[in-house]
Symmetry: C2
Subunit: 121 residues, 2 copies
C-alpha cells in the first residue's frame, strides 16, 4: 500500500475499517432493518406484532426486510403449523451481537434529543 497520489486517502488499516463499516451498512441498509432488530432484542415477536410496533412499515416491506435479515443470518424464523398459522421471529446469535449497536443507537437518540432541548429549539 504505497501512499500513491494525493493529500489524504485511506490506506491500510484505515481503509480496512472503512470497508468494514461499508459492509455493515450494506447488510443493514434501509431504514427498517435496525428498527426491526431493536424490537427483537427484547423478545421474539410475531409478524403482526412487528407490523404494529415498527411504526410506518407496510406489510410487503416488512416481509422483504425479514427475508433479507434471515438470509443474512441475523434472525431466525420459527413456523408453528397450528391451525391459524403462527410465525415468530427472533434474533440469531449473530443478530444478538448487534445489541451493542442498537444500544448505541438508543443512547445517542436520547442524548441528541437532550442536546436539541437545551439548544433552544
Amino acid at each position: 500500500m504505497q501512499q500513491d497520489s494525493a493529500d489524504h486517502s485511506f490506506t491500510g488499516a484505515c481503509a480496512h475499517r472503512m470497508r468494514a463499516i461499508d459492509d455493515t451498512l450494506d447488510i443493514l441498509s434501509g431504514k427498517w432493518k435496525l428498527a426491526i432488530i431493536a424490537r427483537l432484542c427484547h423478545q421474539p415477536m410475531r409478524y403482526s406484532a412487528l407490523l404494529r410496533d415498527v411504526t410506518g412499515i407496510s406489510g410487503k416491506v416488512l416481509s422483504r426486510e425479514l427475508q433479507d435479515l434471515e438470509t443474512n443470518g441475523l434472525i431466525v424464523r420459527h413456523v408453528a403449523t397450528s391451525k391459524p398459522l403462527t410465525v415468530t421471529y427472533s434474533l440469531s446469535e449473530t443478530g444478538r451481537s448487534l445489541t451493542t449497536l442498537t444500544d448505541s443507537l438508543a443512547e445517542w437518540g436520547l442524548a441528541h434529543r437532550a442536546r436539541m432541548m437545551q439548544a433552544g429549539n
Copy 2:
C-alpha cells in the same frame, strides 16, 4: 403505564427507547450518512476527497447528504474563499459523539466477516 390490551407491545421506557432508536435512524437515514461521518471521524475532508473515498456516491447525492448533515448539526462546513474555492467538512461536537456508533459499526463488520469465514462460505 398499564399493560393495556394485547400480548406484547412496547410500553413506557421501552417504547421510549424505540422512539429514540427511530429518531436516530431517521436522522441517519439513507445509506450514505454514516459512511460520510465515518470518514470525517479521522480528519476533516474536502468535498472532492469525500467524493473519492465514499465508494459509489455521486456528486449530487454527496451534496445533498452533506447539507442534511449540516442542517442536523452533525457536521460543519468551512469555506475558504481562496481563488479556487476550498470547502472542508468536519464533524461538529454532536457529530463527534457518533464515533461510538461508527466504532460499533466497524467492530461488528469485522466480527461478522470473521463469522462468515469460519461458517464455511
